[in-house]
């Protein structure tokens, strides 16, 4: 079952210099995809197109067979954590925002909305923080709350923007375990500039730098080096070797 399909999509803010060009991407049920690319490589544009916030110049985007705007309820979006953000809002109230689309205009949150929010907080192991102010949390805790918020809409596809930027390297492992757990019930797509942060839990990798190159499940160092879709500096840093090399013998993580 194809959840998300992009065909020949060209999009951006300037028709002569599109941020992404001729992008094909399909996400199926149970997929766990990492899309890596440098800053300015079109990651944000790609996300906006999928979320229906930006209409592509050419090509088609289908989310669950429909226009993205009509299918947003199926996508759980986890934006990048803004570390220094000061705002008087409780963790529970943030998670309830994931119910905005389900609860409707002019209505208050129902008991069911609250029950779902609490359930997601428990699932993410941060229920004890429910009454805390969001800006008193650590980066990793905020990340979990934002995932809980995305899950509160009961999506079938989880979309994460730079999810490990706010997670320190010790908790990165448990963070990926968490995503892998979620992956048993929904497709997970994460977008990042940090190749070193891609764990072997990820089933497939795609590189984006205006063009998108999918590497499927059998990725090797050679694939990445060959893929001109992948920015040179990422390859040159040698960072992929850690992830990809480990994957070859299957022992990593």
């Amino acid at each position: 079952m194809v959840l998300l399909e992009l065909r020949n999509v060209t999009a951006g803010y300037n028709r002569d210099h599109p941020a992404i060009e001729n992008v094909d991407l399909s996400v199926e049920k149970n997929d766990f995809i990492a899309i890596i690319g440098p800053n300015g490589g079109g990651k944000t544009t790609l996300l906006k197109v999928v979320l229906g916030l930006l209409i592509p110049f050419t090509g088609t985007v289908k989310v669950f067979g429909k226009e993205p705007v009509h299918s947003r309820k199926n996508i759980g979006y986890v934006p990048q954590v803004i570390p220094s953000r000061v705002f008087p809002v409780s963790v529970l109230d943030v998670v309830l925002m994931g119910r905005l689309g389900s609860s409707g205009f002019f209505r208050r949150y129902t008991d069911r909305d609250r029950a779902i929010a609490v359930e997601k907080l428990e699932k993410l192991g941060v229920f004890n923080l429910a009454g805390k102010r969001m800006d008193q949390l650590s980066g990793g805790q905020k990340q979990r709350v934002l995932i809980a918020r995305a899950l509160a809409g009961e999506p079938k596809l989880l979309l994460l923007d730079e999810p490990v930027a706010s997670v320190d390297s010790e908790t990165q492992q448990s963070f990926y375990n968490l995503l892998a757990g979620l992956n048993s019930r929904m497709a997970v797509v994460l977008v990042t500039h940090d190749v070193g942060a891609v764990s072997s839990h990820v089933k497939s990798i795609a590189c984006i730098n205006r063009h998108l190159v999918s590497h499927g499940e059998t990725i090797s160092e050679k694939d990445v080096a060959r893929a001109y879709g992948c920015p040179f500096e990422l390859v040159a840093h040698g960072v992929p070797h850690r992830v990809l090399g480990a994957r070859k013998d299957g022992s990593h993580v």
Binding site: L51, G52, L53, R72, K73, I75, Y77, P79, V86, F87, P88, V89, S90, D93, V94, L96, M97, G98, L100, G101, S103, F105, F106, R108, Y109, G131, R133, R149, G153
Partner: protein
């Protein structure tokens, strides 16, 4: 003290201050969490252009100011599109243009300048029944909007993009918020005048932000604080024979710096 309340104008000053503090706390909180204080300053100063034009055309100055304030608020909102509201340059330009246009219009209309002083610095000692009704009306509109759309206002203030993805009609709520901010700015000008209204809207809210676990509590605390500062300011103004708007702002800012120093 009984002496003080025997004057109708003092009673009215206290009633207006109390009424104004509700809208001030609620809208001030929204302005503060959206980091839009310079936006508010621009709106207030832009409205001066409307005042001048109203004097020139011979209509009620309040009408001119309201039209300019709401117009410029929605204008900035539309121009800044999907992103954060207002660039610095646009704000500064609007701020100064409003003042310049107002001065030119007023010169052309030949208005006596003491009239202007009350718009610039407030006129709590000359509160009319109409002012009281207008302020009460604003409270009803502000409270009604916030009660109806609390979760949506919280959503667009905390995470506009996420809220839009949830299918919330963000453009409508943002427009409503901008109109409320503009109307509140105009009505509060009675208390402190357009020059200081920015402080009245943001100081109580900024203090409240530190001690509130939710936006709702922040609104309540900010309203309470602006009531407190307003009343203390009025007493001081009465006893020391000082301009009331300035006294209220000084009380507020002293409280603000004490809070800053305390932390």
């Amino acid at each position: 003290m009984s002496d003080m309340f025997s004057y109708t104008f003092m009673q009215n000053a206290f009633i207006l201050t109390a009424l104004a503090s509700i809208a001030c706390g609620v809208v001030g909180s929204l302005i503060t969490v959206n980091r839009m204080s310079s936006f508010t300053g621009s709106i207030a100063h832009a409205s001066f252009g409307g005042l001048g034009l109203a004097y020139l055309l011979g209509v009620h100055p309040m009408i001119g100011a309201t039209v300019f304030a709401v117009g410029s608020a929605l204008g900035i909102g539309a121009l800044s599109g999907r992103n954060r509201i207002g660039s610095d340059t646009a704000m500064a330009a609007l701020w100064a243009t409003g003042m310049a246009a107002g001065l030119v219009f007023i010169k052309l209309s030949g208005t006596y300048t003491s009239d202007l002083m009350s718009w610039l610095f407030g006129s709590l000692m000359a509160v009319s029944r109409t002012d009281l009704f207008l302020t009460a009306g604003l409270d009803v509109v502000v409270l009604g909007s916030v009660i109806l759309f609390y979760k949506e206002f919280l959503g667009i203030s905390y995470d506009l993009e996420f809220t839009r993805i949830q299918g919330v009609p963000v453009w409508f709520l943002r427009g409503l918020f901008l109109v409320l901010a503009a109307l509140t700015t105009i009505v509060l000008m009675k208390v402190t005048g357009l020059i200081m209204v920015i402080a009245l809207l943001t100081i109580p809210a900024s203090i409240a932000e530190r001690y509130s676990s939710s936006l709702r509590k922040m609104m309540v605390l900010a309203s309470f604080l602006s009531l407190l500062f307003g009343i203390i300011g009025l007493f001081i103004a009465w006893w020391l024979d000082l301009p009331s708007g300035a006294a209220i702002i000084l009380v507020s800012s002293i409280a603000y710096f004490l809070v800053l120093a305390h932390r």
